[in-house]
Point group: C2
Chain length 614, copies 2
């Protein structure tokens, strides 16, 4: 049977052969999660995703319904929501004290990959719930935690995130929703919020909205923003639900895709009856929000990657089955599957390289979170989390950019069929386009990379990150089958170090605007480098195993073995994919670096009137 | 008032200052079309497009209806169709003998740019009609022409193109629709066709379907395909319409976009009653079809460009009005229009460079057609049309690739608003995705460039094409303000010549598959080169005019003038845009050339099993 959503062999490779998930069980915190348990978890998630979630993907494309303040999700979501809840999948990685499973993040990502790839619209309800619960766990009072956490982690209640207002999108400092303190210490909240994913729905009995708002008299701008918890229904002292809390859904957006997830507008306190409680400290709402933002951005990277993987599997299966045109080397054999045509192969290997590079990068990031959890001391922990800091804009921005490319390639492989709704790929392309926008547009990600991550700790964090890459290169150099590729990635790394210095200096000079006009280029370069790193690392794991299977390193021998043996074919695929990326994509990255070095100022110098007539 | 669809100043610049449209009136054929007349035509088209077409764009997104073999186009299309027909816009460039206007193609493109940008779904009905009419005019008998041509060019009847079958898409040689000769010389046609844009509709009284089919006993493959005309209703001897001709629409596709245009399935001769007449010679149907294909592909490039231009204008207007975040150089001034932010400027100038490069390239191609029409002799004509041959895959493939990028940039500029249907840009992005697929997928375009265009006339055609570019570079070198940019484009041109040779040789060696795995890269490089060419040419026209306005060439002086004077601002924009592209995009193109030079074979060597587990 054809593989769907994700290639299990590759999932297992990254989980065990590259990231050594089982090793985490040596730590007490993860003692229960040995390789066997990890595999069971992934298998169970995969079964649920393929058998139950996947059939609801297209149904979800028909969208949610809005009537008199109520939002009805697609009918088919109710069943999978029950299965997901019953399986206790929402809080895989969370504290058992609050009902979590305490699983390593690394393992949870493999499970989540299948879920998100099978139905991204539905999974967004859960991602938002999880993010909101994490906020409560991190910043909530004991009372807030007791009221909400178990309900949220179990999926009985959901959660959201109320940030955006019509005039406050990327610039949250401009928001105007207000909070007035009541005598009992609660706040009366008044304002209108838009673009709230999962903002209202009918799969849960209650919804917890973390809301950014200004307390009366707070400072202007981003320094006067506080965070509140607003429950859809008031929560009684005994934990039962009380009356409606005047948080009214006023509509849902019609969108390009991701129709199964309701994007809501909410009016809070239209009747003066919306009560919230402060979450964390006054005027430190943005700080709290951004603490959680890293996790939210990782989630966007994950869903982008999962959708990319699903698109690749569809395209690969289709290319193996669709018969069209002759093989150019054997025209007499008649028409053949299109996977035999060079241009189709070029497209497929491009998709494969990105998907596999993304998988390794995402799992690697997950492993960093896990290692931070079990770090011996604070220094060790912060060293690891610094790597995550640098990776976050790459995972969010670069991966979501590439997801659009990968899904578009899938449409192209299907030809005319790719454009019609009868086949699954056009939906994936529409669905994923929002990933480049929400949780901080990719322009914001690029600015984050240049403006914050490059200069963190006077550049030490960034250099440490490059140091991690250098370690992998040094390892790969020792593997004779790929030492030339390692050399190429080293050239890239050296050039990136050089350009990062130039760009960083420019960002602190009067050329600061020129530098920021190249922020997107720099993010792309960092992403390309990360892909090359991960693919090289994969190849350095695969090469010795392939040699062992083949009993030697002669190319003919390796190929002969790969033709007969599944594992050998897989490992050979790793070498070829790394070679493709490093020889075909990396030269283009070098060109981007040349462009950055030039730091040309045309974009910033151009008069506004020169952009076009009025 | 904000400009919509296209920047009229830029349209006029290309038409008159770069391509010198008025000069065409020196030829007898185009004597009526002096600058004044040209401008009137463009103004009229622009008015009609903005006032009447544009409001129907979003309405068209609601789609066509299909009931019992009938297709109802969006209601609003009937009115614009009447206006379009009354204005005699369909046959702008065609022979007055058949009701055409005999207009230069160059001028028609400026008009068409507005129409396609305002409603691409609707315009596709007209493009197909025009293409079918051109087939009849080129290959029809006198009788066929008399029966159809005036009706088609006037828009009373429409036309289509019946090529694709479920098992015959890119490989038309595999088609199975059959034709059996009747005693009266007509043919009985039997078969099923799919993916027929405009295949059935209710704006016209009759539809002429050119159909590819096999005559009983014809050779296998592409050598046994003939072309037939099948009229929806039989045509009586007196030209009136007779009974239904058994060409039954069996359904329309649900698609990602372009919903206003019906993509139909047709069954011909289901009751054995479908009669067609041979168009052109037996078994030479593909030849005839491909004669017309160049024109069809130019049309796809045009619609891609027009949609890109519309997307740019929307994004530019939005960026000028949307207030969000502070100017990084003047944080105390409060929030500003987002056009002041470097990353937004980088995005906008990227869009501008592509849109303007496309406009020049498309108009240039149109001018080539016109010059071929008035060529002094056959050699001159074929020299010009050879340039068009090389340009065709670039115009179709590269432009439609870039259209997806440009429309996606527009979505990004709008942020969250870009993803919702309330704003116009997400529709443009969905609509344009099919341009990369129909009329020969872009993979086919890339193969056409490498396999046919590079080697035409032993490479002479291609070298002549590069010679045209060199002429522009030589001109630009003499313009001191941009001589450095000219030098950079020359480096690119030289490198392209070198790599084209390497790639061409590889395509004729045992590395042929490696070469074809880089066909897409090569097409991209040719497209980038064409953009650089056109933008440099624009700058070389603009520079002396700017200097004249400013009374000198001192940069401060030029800028001061541009700040005050609209024309100077426009010309300065031309210099900046060229500089941006040549300094920021061309280095990346150089990287692509390095990748091609490597000709790495990973994509073609990879075992099919290595692409992923089954």
């Amino acid at each position: 049977m054809a593989q769907l959503i994700a290639d299990r062999r590759d999932v297992d490779f990254v989980l065990h052969e590259q990231m050594e998930a089982g090793e985490l069980s040596r730590y007490e915190k993860f003692a229960e999660f040995d390789k066997k348990t990890d595999d069971l978890i992934v298998s169970e998630a995969r079964n649920l995703a393929i058998k139950e979630f996947l059939p609801t993907q297209k149904l979800g494309d028909e969208g949610c319904r809005f009537e008199n303040g109520r939002v009805m999700v697609p009918d088919s979501f109710h069943r999978i929501n029950k299965l997901y809840k019953d399986g206790e999948w929402l809080a895989m990685t969370d504290d058992p004290e609050w009902g979590g499973q305490g699983m390593p993040k690394l393992v949870s990502l493999a499970a989540n990959e299948y879920f998100h790839g099978a139905n991204a619209s539905y999974m967004l309800y859960n991602s938002l719930s999880h993010g909101a619960a994490r906020l409560v766990e991190e910043f909530g009072t004991e009372e807030q935690k007791k009221q909400c956490l178990r309900k949220m982690y179990s999926g009985e209640w959901s959660g959201t995130m109320l940030l955006t207002e019509p005039e406050a999108g990327s610039d949250l400092g401009a928001l105007t929703t207000s909070a007035v303190k009541n005598d009992d210490g609660t706040y009366s909240i008044t304002g209108s919020k838009i673009f709230i994913s999962s903002g209202e729905q009918d799969m849960v009995e209650n919804i917890i909205h973390p809301v950014l708002a200004r307390i009366e008299g707070a400072p202007e701008g981003s320094k006067g923003i506080s965070l509140f918890l607003v429950s859809k229904y008031r929560i009684n002292d005994n934990g039962s639900l009380g009356e409606f809390n005047d948080a009214v859904c006023t509509g849902i957006e019609e969108k390009m895709g991701l129709h199964g997830n309701a994007t809501c507008s909410l009016t809070l306190g239209g009747k003066g009856q919306c009560i919230g409680t402060l979450l964390g400290e006054e005027n430190k709402g943005l700080f709290a929000m951004f603490q959680m933002m890293n996790e939210a951005r990782q989630f966007v990277g994950l869903e982008g990657f999962a959708v990319s993987s699903a698109a690749y599997m569809y395209a690969l299966n289709y290319a193996r089955e669709r018969i069209q045109s002759k093989n150019m080397m054997k025209p007499k054999d008649g028409s053949v599957p299109i996977i035999q045509h060079p241009d189709v192969r070029r497209t497929l290997i491009t998709m494969k390289a990105y998907v596999e590079g993304m998988r390794s990068l995402i799992y690697y990031t997950g492993r960093c979170w896990d290692m931070a959890e079990v770090a011996a001391n604070k220094e060790e922990k912060s060293r690891i989390m610094d790597v995550v800091e640098v990776l976050t804009p790459i995972v969010k921005g670069y991966i979501s950019d590439k997801t659009l490319e990968v899904t578009s390639h899938a449409v192209q492989i299907y030809g005319g069929y790719g454009y019609i709704k009868e086949y699954p790929v056009e939906q994936l392309m529409r669905d994923c386009r929002i990933f480049m926008i929400y949780e901080g547009t990719n322009g914001i990600q690029a600015m984050d990379m240049l403006g914050r991550k490059l200069g963190m700790n006077n550049g030490k964090t960034f250099m440490d990150f490059l140091g991690e890459i250098r370690k992998s290169i040094d390892n790969a150099k020792k593997v004779s089958l790929i030492s030339d590729l390692a050399g190429k990635v080293e050239e890239l790394l050296n050039r990136v170090s050089e350009i990062a210095l130039i760009l960083g200096k420019a960002a602190m000079s009067d050329k600061v605007q020129n530098a920021y006009a190249f922020a997107q280029h720099f993010l792309e370069v960092m992403g390309d480098l990360s892909m090359a790193w991960m693919l090289l690392w994969r190849a350095s794991v695969a090469a010795p195993k392939l040699e062992k299977l083949a009993g030697g390193s002669d190319p003919e021998k390796l190929r002969a073995k790969a033709e007969k043996n599944k594992d050998a074919a897989f490992y050979e695929g790793q070498l070829k994919t790394a070679r493709f990326f490093i020889k075909t994509v990396v030269p283009v990255t070098m060109g981007k670096l040349d462009a950055i070095e030039g730091l040309d100022g045309a974009a910033v110098e151009m008069l506004e009137s020169s952009f076009g007539s009025r």
